[in-house]
């Protein structure tokens, strides 16, 4: 179960170019800026490689192609994830549409719904860290400015923001979020559960030009519950692609032909 859900290595990684800011921005503006940058503004595909490290040693690796399109009404992404590596998983797909999640197995040509309760473990939930449009579901508060070491141990001047859940759809009750001043690039996020426990920490780094913007090409996700577990998510080959809406229909999965 854990494997099949491997993450939704999505849009999130895409942190876009800085927005020109003239006056001191409000907290919500900063988050929105960081968010809008996650979204290239057009449907796209991206190749994403997840490596799971346990105690520093790589344990598992999975390569995925992700097709993402923003739903104009909800401003959340619909994602279609297709496994490309390892070969035994080739052709398996996961469809995530709103809060519904479907797993499709080409050998049996059936899709199985995965309920929220079944997404708890492993990298399944990593998608949440990278896909969510945070500005919509959370109320942001500026805690201050802070100089923070990023994943490469470089100091960055950041806005330190505190996001609290503002809608029932919000996955986390609270997020601590560090966004670099000037560039509005997310540097780090700490994600808390309803009970107040830290669930995971994400570092966004290796910013590079992708699809018309500077976006993080690697996200390091540190699991704070199972403290031995670290997952890296590397993205490449991002390009715009027009994706028909039918691709995000569960019924269409068996007929879907992808290169």
């Amino acid at each position: 179960m854990k494997k099949l859900l491997v993450g939704f290595a999505l849009a999130a990684l895409l942190t876009p170019a800085a927005l020109a800011q003239s006056k001191p921005p409000t907290a919500q503006d900063i988050v929105a800026a960081a968010d809008t940058t996650r979204n290239p503004g057009q449907p796209f595909r991206i190749t994403s490689t997840l490596v799971e490290y346990v105690g520093g040693k790589p344990r598992d690796r999975v390569a995925l192609v992700v097709f993402a399109k923003e739903n104009k009404q909800t401003h959340q992404f619909s994602n279609l994830v297709r496994y490309v590596d390892p070969p035994r998983d080739l052709g398996k797909m996961v469809l995530m549409n709103g809060s519904n999640m479907w797993f499709y197995d080409p050998s049996s040509k059936v899709s199985v719904r995965i309920s929220p309760q079944q997404r708890l473990m492993g990298q399944a939930s990593d998608g949440d860290v990278v896909t969510a449009n945070l500005a919509k579901d959370y109320a942001a508060k500026l805690l201050g400015e802070e100089t923070l070491q990023d994943a490469d141990r470089k100091d960055r001047a950041c806005w330190h923001l505190d996001l609290t859940a503002a809608s029932p759809e919000a996955i986390y009750s609270r997020i601590e979020y560090w966004i670099e001043k000037g560039t509005n690039r997310p540097v780090k996020g700490k994600f808390y559960s309803d009970s107040g426990r830290l669930l995971k920490i994400a570092y966004y780094h290796k910013y590079a030009e992708q699809l018309g913007g500077m976006r993080a090409s690697e996200t390091i996700i540190i699991d704070s519950v199972d403290q031995n577990l670290v997952t890296t998510m590397t993205t490449s080959d991002m390009r715009a692609q027009d994706i028909p809406d039918a691709w995000f229909q569960r019924e269409y999965l068996p007929r879907l032909k992808v290169d």
């Binding site: 346990v54 309920s115 997404r119 390091i220 704070s224 519950v225």
Partner: protein, 468 residues
């Protein structure tokens, strides 16, 4: 009266044979009554166990019983406190109720990530003081040894609780909890893959930056595990959980899954930052006989207030209760039939021999003007009297035997339970059983006497007189 005197004298005439016949009947009575009393004890034991653990009646949101276990948070009772107040303050129900208590059940993942061990769990959240009060329910006066007053969870301590022994074993808590006969889990193999790139940042340093010592272990050094669950919206939720002890849940499936916790912790896990609801409300009554009327009253109450709730009694919730009742009844019926047949044959045999021996006597009586019906009545009364003596002796002997057995201190572990309890024979409230066994045997003996009596009555006077 004369007939009875003659019948009694006839019985005494062949004392040894009559004694054997009566003994056979008595043994039949003893076997049936003892077994009946044993079944009665099992049944009230099961009932006491079910009621002490889950109450008589359980209130759910409509549909939970059929569909809810897959998604407990969607079938929860909103504003359960007001529903509980409604039940508690109802003038009809109030005098009958012992406890009304909310309950939360949920599924999730329990992990001891220090050992890289995790598994799915079935959690039950309850109010400890109410649960203890419920465990004291003892309508039938059965002394239940064991842990009536300790449920391992405290009202004022949200983070501590108990797990099943199987769960403790999987999570590697055997040593910290000092469980006997409990091996530690084998070290997990660290599978690793070769072709993955080495990380170009120092992951250990990175994850050490924010490592918080989650919570300092409390003074009592209870081992800590993490419980993960998801709310209805799919938000993951994690809490720390300290295991006071491992409890034996009786059967392995539950033993491997069970986590017993404070109600508030279960609500925190299942409902997160949303409204804290309850999955069920358990109601315990003083007496089981009030269950049907209380059930009807609750239905009426919920209908009147437009509440979307349904009520189930413990017999519906625990299908094994009715299964065990049916199973035991089948065995009892089987034994009764066999005993009845044995009694039948014994009496037929004894009476036939009497008839044979007394052929001359029958001829004489008939020659003196006794009618066929008089002869038949004579033998019927003899059979009836043998049955009565045997059955009465059986009932008296049974009460002596049961009394002796109840003082012998035999222990056993009832089905579906973890701890041995005293094995007793229920000697109170079994009047119906005693009477029906007694009456059944006497009736059987009388019917059995009917065939020989008929034969005696149909004898030809001349042949009977000449019989040698």
């Amino acid at each position: 009266m004369m007939l009875f005197k003659i019948a009694f004298r006839n019985i005494l005439r062949n004392g040894r044979r009559s004694l054997m016949t009566a003994s056979a009947i008595a043994v039949g009575a003893i076997a049936m009554i003892l077994f009946g009393e044993y079944i009665a004890f099992i049944m009230v034991g099961l009932e006491t166990g079910a009621v002490a653990n889950g109450g008589h009646l359980t209130v759910y949101h409509k549909g939970y019983f059929d569909f809810g276990s897959g998604n407990p948070s969607a079938y929860s009772i909103d504003k359960y406190q007001s529903v509980m107040r409604l039940i508690e303050n109802d003038p009809q129900l109030k005098p009958e109720i012992t406890v009304v208590t909310p309950n939360v059940t949920l599924f999730g993942i329990a992990g001891n990530f220090a050992l890289d061990a995790s598994k799915t769990f079935y959690g039950s959240g309850f109010i400890a003081s109410d649960r203890i009060k419920m465990r004291r329910w003892n309508e039938y006066g059965i002394l239940r040894l064991g842990r009536a007053d300790d449920v391992g969870v405290r009202d004022n301590d949200e983070t501590h609780g108990v797990v099943g022994i199987g769960m403790a074993r999987v999570l590697g808590l055997c040593q910290p909890l000092k469980i006997a006969n409990c091996p530690s889990p084998p070290k997990p193999k660290t599978a690793s893959i070769a072709d993955a790139p080495a990380p170009d940042v120092n992951l250990a340093e990175l994850s050490a930056r924010d490592r918080e010592s989650v919570q300092a272990p409390p003074a009592d050094k209870a081992p800590r595990i993490d419980l993960l669950a998801a709310t209805a919206e799919g938000a993951p939720n994690v809490v720390s959980f300290f295991v006071n002890e491992a409890v034996n849940m009786g059967f392995k499936e539950l033993d491997d899954m069970y986590v017993g916790m404070n109600l508030k912790l279960a609500q925190q896990l299942l409902y997160g930052r949303g409204e804290h609801k309850a999955v069920s409300i358990q109601i315990q009554l003083h007496r089981t006989e009030n269950m049907a009327s209380a059930h009807a009253r609750l239905d009426a109450l919920f209908a009147k207030h437009g509440l979307d709730l349904e009520v189930h009694d413990f017999k519906e919730l625990q299908p094994q209760y009715n299964q065990i009742v049916g199973f035991m009844s089948a065995i009892f019926t089987f034994i009764s039939v066999i005993m009845g047949v044995i009694v039948l044959f014994t009496i037929v045999n004894t009476m036939s021999m009497s008839v044979m021996e007394r052929t001359n006597e029958i001829g004489t009586a008939r020659a003196m003007g006794v009618r066929r019906s008089g002869i038949r009545r004579q033998f019927l009364i003899e059979g009836w009297m043998l049955g009565t003596i045997g059955a009465t002796a059986g009932v008296i002997l049974t009460s002596l035997l049961a009394n002796w057995f109840n003082h012998a201190g035999v222990m056993y572990t009832p089905p579906g339970q973890a701890h041995p309890v005293p094995l007793l024979l229920l000697t109170q409230g079994v009047g119906t059983l005693l009477f029906s066994v007694w009456f059944g045997l006497v009736l059987m003996a009388t019917i059995a006497a009917l065939f020989p009596a008929n034969r005696a009555a149909r004898m030809l006077v001349v042949d009977a007189l000449r019989h040698v």
